[in-house]
Subunit: 460 residues, 2 copies
């Protein structure tokens, strides 16, 4: 590993310059206008895999944005890791909230500021650079495969089918994903649970045109008022979701598990200060970390209707809409939850309006057991680079494709991410610290080695 | 009057062409970008008053958009009518819902299609043309003054002060306003009541930035969810507004008044069909006409927050906002209602968010007694042109400045409008029927005469 480490040391600047070039491509998958950027970004990554020394590097079509696939096989019968990442990024609005152009990365205060700096271009790129260091120094300890997709932020809708069609090519002992966060720089962690996601859009239609609120107000159901009523009815005063059957399959943690969870270092006051709130709010009887880690939630992600411009317009809008998503925990199923949601809304909606609901995307919750050999290998690598044992952590986020991998490919995933809460992924001013980027590459290098070793004695 | 009628007959085409030119000016008062159009529109009207034969025609500055003032004094001691109208129009969004350019008027099916065709350019212009016909034929029966403002659609905020400063100039026996509708072409009506208006904007702020709904969802109050909760809590299952004290000053109609009101021709099924709804919805115990005419209402006029673009974004928005307005009835006071609203919201808002409320505009409800000589003169004129007696009607709309006129100038207003419900004022595809435009001018001609006569024997 020493050769690889010294290779990394010699090429630090170039690795960073390359990442900045990758971050300049505005690969926003949610916006149709960026389709050409998706193609450009995939092609850029294909070349990057080639330059890193992989034997095979291809841009492969899917029903949606292409997948970048690469591999380096040193021993067809040896252990194989499949690295998963994504090159698409979130939209950037409100753009005026950014301190610098989201697609013209800047280095300030030891951090890279750009959309995708962490999620997931920065984190995916660490694996490509770890692979390069090992390949170029002739020390690669196992076979490597890369699968970098372009639709993670919009639900990975084409990937399941693509995986099923290429299951043979994708054969591996483990999938490795760096798309999560550490509890803190001083408290490394490995994500052993992810919430699922059920994301819907609801449109309430009243009259067939916008109406004058003076002439009609009081006699005609206002779709925006009805929408507010429907949304309000989805949660109760205890912060619980009121959809009948919603909690039926929620796995309750044992007292021991809750106690272990409570050991994660966490300061409620720092948490509140960082995001500028006076008080947290959530389900009665659970801590903040439990509320985001092991309990489901329901959020309005967007709401709109009527006149939203300057000044006033006295109108009853014809329509009002909301994007609503629920985070799910084991063993909830997003398809069943979508059904329960729709049934509940239909039972509440008055006859004076019509309601249309569509599912935008969904994914299952995921658990990665801490007794998996891969978990132990990752813990060893982190102990070396961070100087302490990582904590197992339940993240509130969702990577819906992870449970799909298990279903379609029969392969477990290890979630070893190097982000930090302050990176503001999905928000304006996303950033990623240089020290996380470099230490991430070191940890990945070590992990590949430990995992290959472990697998020889205890294969899973 | 015959000379004036034949003058009208000879100049029908030109009157219409002039109105179309006026409608081409996009004088949207709610949008700052249109300030130059406001100036241009005021100047256009000044010239129109001059050409109509008035002695004086001026564009007079206010703190906001200018007022166009004109007068023709035939006898300084004789009866004087002050015509009020407005040259500003509502915004046009959603623009894609228009079948033709809102500011390039088209004549189709006997109607003028354009923003402002009815409200209030079309209706104001009828008075200018009635004045022209009377002046040019030497048959003007009374003094006329015109006051056409440019801020009616945004609350007439500069007009009260301007009126107070020009009270002497504005002296008149009666203010005449054509900015309301007829019950129908076969059932003419005179508006004897208007609802007041209290229009507010509410902004709910949670975290100081948009947050990832996976990482934070369940532990942090979502401003869009809270906003929905607050809005939902403003009305109950009986369609009543829950703000404490809201109904304290609402004047209840006597059984006789309700019975008279129920005589207005009205078809619930036609009403529903026209606006495309399966069911009406409103306060329990009142009819549709009562709900819009004599009962207060609360509507969300606009709501927005979070991601409203294409596809999905998993975000907890930092802010969510709504424009909310309440229609008020005698003897509610919009200033007191704004206070009660804010107090109620503050009592409900959780500590996890901040709420800011601002008043965008307000106006008092108004009643014009049917025993006013002006009402009787208008009824006579309508009987001649429509062939039947007009019905007294309570309109749900608001013209906040009307009650201000009474307070500041001490002058009553007559609301003699010629629009129809199908004109879609404030909506896409506003229109005004040519027959209403021409019969309106005839009715106005006759009214001026009857009123001058009446005033000689029974001055009010």
């Amino acid at each position: 590993m020493e050769a690889a480490f010294s290779y990394l040391e010699q090429h630090r600047e170039r690795f960073l310059d390359e990442l900045l070039a990758l971050l300049r491509i505005p690969s926003i998958s949610a916006e149709q206008a960026h389709i050409p950027d998706m193609i450009r970004c995939a092609e850029w990554l294909r070349i990057a895999l080639q330059k890193a020394g992989l034997d095979r590097a291809e841009v492969m079509p899917t029903a949606g944005n292409p997948v970048v696939y690469g591999e380096k096989i040193i021993d067809p019968k040896g252990p194989t890791l499949l690295i998963y990442g994504h090159y698409d990024v979130m939209p950037v609005d409100p753009r005026e909230a950014w301190n610098s152009d989201p697609f013209e990365p800047e280095i300030r205060n030891g951090r890279i500021w750009a959309r995708g700096a962490n999620d997931d271009k920065g984190q995916s790129y660490m694996h490509i650079k770890a692979a390069e260091a090992l390949i170029r120094t002739g020390t690669l300890p196992c076979n490597l495969k890369f699968m970098i997709e372009g639709e993670e932020e919009i639900g990975s809708s084409s990937l399941e089918r693509w995986c099923a069609e290429h299951a043979e090519m994708l054969k591996a002992d483990l999938i490795v994903v760096s798309d999560t966060s550490l509890l803190g720089w001083e408290t490394p962690s490995i994500t052993c649970g992810l919430r699922g996601l059920c994301y819907l859009e609801m449109e309430v239609t009243g009259p067939n045109q916008d109406l004058h609120s003076g002439l009609y107000g009081g006699a005609v159901a206002n779709p925006a008022n009805v929408l507010a009523r429907l949304i309000a009815s989805l949660t109760d005063a205890q912060g619980r979701i009121t959809i009948p059957g919603f909690y039926d399959r929620v796995r309750e943690l044992s007292p021991e598990e809750r106690e272990a969870f409570a050991r994660a270092p966490f300061s409620e006051s720092v948490y509140k200060e960082k995001i500028g709130i006076r008080a947290t709010e959530g389900e009665t009887g659970y801590s903040t970390l439990e509320r985001t880690g092991i309990r489901p939630s329901l959020d309005v992600n967007g709401i709109w209707g009527g006149y939203t411009g300057e000044g006033s317009k006295t109108v009853i809008p014809s329509k009002a809409c909301a994007k609503i998503s629920m985070r799910l925990v084991p063993d909830q199923d997003y398809r069943q939850i979508a059904e329960l949601f729709e049934r509940h809304i239909r039972s509440l909606a008055p006859d004076s309006v019509s309601v249309a609901i569509k599912t935008l995307h969904g994914g299952m919750p995921y658990v990665c057991p801490t007794d998996l050999p891969a978990y132990r290998a990752a813990a060893s690598a982190m102990r070396q680079t961070f100087g302490c044992d990582p904590l197992p952590f339940y993240s509130g986020g969702s990577i819906p494709i992870i449970s799909t991998f298990e279903k379609v490919l029969g392969i477990k995933s290890l979630l070893m991410g190097f982000g930090l809460g302050e990176d503001a992924i999905h928000s304006p001013n996303e950033s990623y610290a240089l020290q996380n980027f470099y230490r991430g590459i070191e940890t990945i290098l070590l992990f590949y080695g430990h995992y290959a070793e472990t697998l020889k004695s205890d294969p899973i």
